[in-house]
């Protein structure tokens, strides 16, 4: 899995202030409205995928691509709202953002034992430990977002370490989503750092 956001050299302060004060109105509200309905469709496909994996050991390729695009959409929205990227995030699964990269390798086969393990015990060995750690990390991310806001306002940029930390939080969330959505059998690491080596990429 590869997830990255290219850091931009400088921010437009006009757009930045507009997003800060009215972003909820022209970005969050329309995205949330559409995401609500597409989310219902997504949950239907997740449910069906679970049964397909159980009986065939494969994730339907079309569903997989749809879910990767859904995650990319969520990340696009988060990246813009967290001031990690500029520009209006495209609404819909077909959209993209020039600064954001999300590549998830399509698994040719998935373990049915892990599928059942996740369904019945995933809460205990995945959700609880990861959510606890992510909660702490999200607090730190919130603090950095607040500091970044002032940094952008006065200097027009975000310090690279802060930027990478916040991108790492999103990366962690993506990995957790992928695992809990049965899109990979690799247990997500307790880290937001990128994977050491790129694996075979099937879906972008």
């Amino acid at each position: 899995m590869r997830f990255d956001i290219a850091q931009q050299e400088a921010y437009s302060r006009g757009e930045f202030l507009l997003r800060t004060f009215f972003g909820w109105l022209y970005i969050t509200v329309p995205h949330t409205l559409v995401l609500f309905f597409v989310g219902i469709w997504s949950s239907i496909l997740h449910f069906i995928s679970w049964w397909v994996i159980l009986f065939t050991g494969r994730y339907p390729a079309s569903f997989f691509e749809f879910h990767v695009k859904m995650i990319a959409w969520h990340m696009r929205l988060n990246a813009v709202m967290w001031n990690l990227a500029e520009g209006y995030p495209a609404i819909g699964t077909a959209g993209s953002h020039p600064a954001l990269t999300l590549e998830v390798p399509y698994p040719e086969s998935l373990s049915r034992a892990k599928l059942l393990l996740r369904a019945f015990f995933g809460v205990f060995y995945v959700s609880i430990p990861h959510v606890l750690c992510l909660y702490a990390r999200l607090i730190a991310t919130g603090v950095l977002n607040f500091l970044s806001w002032w940094s952008i306002l006065f200097t027009g940029r975000i310090p690279e370490n802060w930027f990478q930390f916040n991108v790492g939080t999103l990366r962690w969330m993506v990995r957790l989503n992928l695992y809990m959505a049965n899109m990979t059998d690799d247990y997500p690491p307790f880290s937001g750092k990128p994977a050491p080596a790129a694996t075979e990429i099937a879906v972008a």
Binding site: I48, V52, T56, A61, F63
Partner: protein, 166 residues
């Protein structure tokens, strides 16, 4: 007289087509997936799935069309049952009519038969085979492989066609 289109054989189909076709029948469980107990949700999901997949390949479109249209009778039966319950109990605040519980049994049996048939069709689709439902199977065949399939599709896309009979 136009000729029917040759049916694809299992070895000619890609895994992706087979997966897309089998998923069409699993839209029967959409209401469970969404967690919304709405009787028409399965039909809506099947229709949305058909709209998304109808241009992918004939094999996929055939299964999506059959899965979608064959849901109409059971959906109507379910809506009638739920409607009757809501009408008598919630709106009119009266006792249910005597035929209500026999109707529920009839609806349950119909749904079970339909689910069984759908699962069988789903397994056949996963193997790249076709299972024809009563009435709807012929309709879907006529729509996607029958002698008029090409004409129907051309008309649907707004293409110019020769006069009838040529």
């Amino acid at each position: 007289m136009p000729e029917a289109i040759a049916l694809p054989q299992p070895h000619e189909l890609s895994q992706r087509e087979k997966d897309d076709a089998l998923a069409a029948y699993l839209m029967n469980f959409a209401a469970w997936g969404a967690g919304l107990p709405i009787p028409s949700l399965n039909l809506i999901a099947a229709w949305v799935y058909y709209i998304i997949n109808r241009k992918k390949s004939r094999f996929v479109a055939f299964h999506c069309f059959q899965a979608c249209t064959s849901q109409i009778p059971t959906t109507l039966i379910n809506i009638a049952g739920v409607g009757m319950f809501v009408d008598y109990v919630v709106i009119l605040n009266r006792d249910l009519p005597r035929f209500f519980w026999p109707y529920v049994v009839f609806a349950a049996v119909t749904n079970l038969i339909y689910l069984g048939t759908s699962i069988y069709a789903c397994i056949r689709a996963a193997k790249g085979r076709i299972h024809y439902f009563l009435v709807f199977g012929r309709w879907a065949y006529a729509r996607y492989y029958g002698p008029n399939a090409v004409t129907l599709e051309a008309a649907a896309t707004g293409q110019n066609l020769p006069p009838a009979g040529f």
